[in-house]
């Protein structure tokens, strides 16, 4: 009996010691993220791979729209940039526990995410699109037709593709995957009816596998603002980023880079 008692005291004290450690994150950060990055001489950016926002090229270096944006941002700040590729479903916890300064990772600004992080003004807009299997879901041309209980839609977990699919085609069954590549493979195998994903990947996919896949809709069915995500209670940093974004909308840098990565395929030989 005594042994059991002592044993539970030790267990309880271990738990009691770890709980306060979990609570300390909510304290206000001393000094803004920007000030710290300038002092360190490096801006640490969290991101995940999304074609063509950010990708690994043949030499293992990161390339893509987002990478250009982050590099220009750091250059304008006069410091170095460092990328931390992070799994998408753990990217917000990683930001909150200070694994990096900012997420520049094609993150859509949503109300739900705003409860955890603060966003800058949009530096780009993304749109969702749908690509379907020719045999499993033939000849459809509107989203409504996908809204059937026996339809299965594959998405990448934790993305706004998941949110969009839930909202626009609520009756269809969602299948969530860790990586987009797995979602598309499931579609090619004919195990799901369609994949909802951020443009332009669905269009590329339909072009590459044109015997089996097709695009039911022209263009995108949502328009989502994309922003930098930073930790809460850091207005200095948000203002700083907003000014930078406004300036780079004006001088055409953001539009020019967007056109290069999203409207052309000149970069494809760098990756494949």
């Amino acid at each position: 009996m005594k042994k059991v008692f002592l044993f539970s005291i030790i267990l309880a004290s271990i738990i009691a010691l770890t709980i306060p450690a979990m609570g300390t994150e909510t304290k206000v950060a001393e000094g803004s993220t920007i000030a710290k990055a300038l002092k360190r001489g490096t801006l640490i950016v969290g991101m995940d791979i999304f074609v063509p926002w950010a990708m690994k090229d043949k030499k293992g270096n990161l390339v893509g729209f987002e990478i250009d944006v982050a590099k220009k941002l750091a250059k304008d700040m006069g410091i170095e940039v460092e990328f931390v590729p992070t799994k998408w479903d753990g990217i917000i916890p990683a930001l909150l526990t200070k694994k990096f300064d900012v997420i520049i990772g094609s993150m859509s600004i949503t109300e739900k995410r705003k409860t955890k992080v603060d966003f800058s003004d949009p530096y780009e807009y993304a749109g969702m699109s749908i690509v379907a299997h020719k045999k499993k879901a033939p000849g459809l041309s509107s989203l409504k037709e996908f809204n059937q209980p026996d339809f299965e839609i594959a998405v990448k977990m934790g993305t706004t593709a998941e949110t969009a699919a839930k909202k626009m085609i609520p009756k269809a069954k969602l299948r969530r995957f860790q990586d987009e590549a797995q979602a598309y493979q499931e579609l090619r195998n004919g195990n799901v009816h369609a994949v909802v994903g951020s443009m332009p990947k669905p269009a590329y996919e339909a072009a590459e596998y044109e015997e089996t896949l097709y695009l039911p809709l022209e263009g995108t069915f949502t328009k989502e603002p994309i922003g930098f995500a930073v930790r809460k209670k850091d207005p200095t940093t948000v203002t700083y980023f907003n000014e930078w974004i406004a300036k780079n909308w004006e001088n055409g840098f953001l539009q020019e880079r967007f056109d290069y990565w999203f409207r052309t395929l000149e970069w494809e030989s760098m990756v494949k």
Binding site: K3, L6, L11, K59, V84, P85, K87, A94, Q185, R188
Partner: protein, 295 residues
């Protein structure tokens, strides 16, 4: 036992043919039934590529990932072995307090899924503890030579803290299993051995060093090998906290190029070769120890 000459019987032939047919069937299904464009061509490039400017071959991300996996496994194994021996000795201590500490550690870790433990350790414990010691700032302020040396043995400055927390979390849960192996190994040695040591006037440390451990080590080598191989395999788990090891680099390539099956097959083969070579090494060690048993 091995004197019987190998003779191939009808049953062997039948089984071999059946296995070959199964393999052919799977390959057939993969190549014809699966709607997938195979592209093995891009893979070698992810191991090494030729840099035109310098005229050198440079290690690409898969090789770097493999090296990270190896570093991660070696350090995690070492730390786990230290944890395991210390808590293993606690588990057999005469004092109730040490036994309770050892027992609490083992039960806490053993009854938690490693994945959950890795998440908790990475997001809560390591993000609280490592900044306390100023690890990150210290690494960044090191001289270039020190950084190079650290990169050689551990990881690049930018990935250093992540590497440390990854290593520690693997070591922490592997340590629990090694603890049990150490305890069982020591307890399996007959009481007479301790008594003989006592009779010779050896101290506890001398008994351990010269009498108990050499015998226990031989007994625990097979289960210990299991744990070392598990360490290599479990190192793939830390890809979820974005430690840039083999599995993580693989998923990055998949996400960039959408070449999935080829990358998974390659990664699987690499793990298989790694773990198999380790098994073979330990097998030789076992044979060596057995041969020297009399001495």
């Amino acid at each position: 036992m091995y004197n019987n000459k190998m003779r191939i019987k009808v049953l062997d032939v039948v089984i071999l043919i059946a296995l070959a047919l199964l393999a052919i069937f799977i390959v057939y299904r993969l190549t014809t039934q699966l709607n997938y464009k195979w592209n093995w061509g891009i893979l070698p490039n992810y191991f090494f590529y030729y840099e035109d400017e310098t005229g050198h071959w440079v290690a690409n991300i898969l090789t770097q990932g493999l090296l990270t996996t190896i570093r991660l496994s070696i350090w995690a194994t070492l730390v786990a072995a230290v944890i395991g021996v210390i808590t293993g000795l606690m588990r057999i201590s005469d004092r109730l307090f040490w036994r309770l500490v050892g027992r609490s550690y083992v039960e806490l870790i053993r009854n938690m899924p490693p994945l959950v433990l890795v998440f908790i350790f990475y997001f809560f414990v390591s993000s609280q503890i490592l900044p306390l010691f100023g690890v990150d700032d210290f690494i960044r302020s090191c001289s270039a030579d020190t950084q190079k040396l650290l990169a050689y043995f551990f990881a690049k400055p930018s990935l250093f803290t992540a590497f440390i927390s990854g290593t520690l979390s693997i070591a922490l849960f592997q340590g629990a299993y090694i603890t049990e192996i150490v305890r069982a190994g020591i307890q399996s040695i007959e009481k007479g051995q301790w008594e003989a040591g006592n009779a010779l006037g050896l101290t506890w440390l001398q008994q351990m060093r010269w009498v108990i451990m050499p015998q226990a080590l031989k007994r625990v080598l097979p289960p210990l090998t299991n744990e070392f191989i598990n360490t290599i395999k479990y190192s793939a788990i830390v890809s979820v906290i974005s430690i840039q090891e083999l599995t993580f680099q693989g998923t990055q390539i998949m996400a960039s190029t959408y070449v999935t099956i080829e990358v998974w097959v390659t990664i699987t083969a690499i793990y298989l070769v790694m773990c198999f070579s380790l098994s073979m090494c330990v097998r030789r060690l076992e044979i060596y120890l057995k041969r020297n048993e009399g001495i």
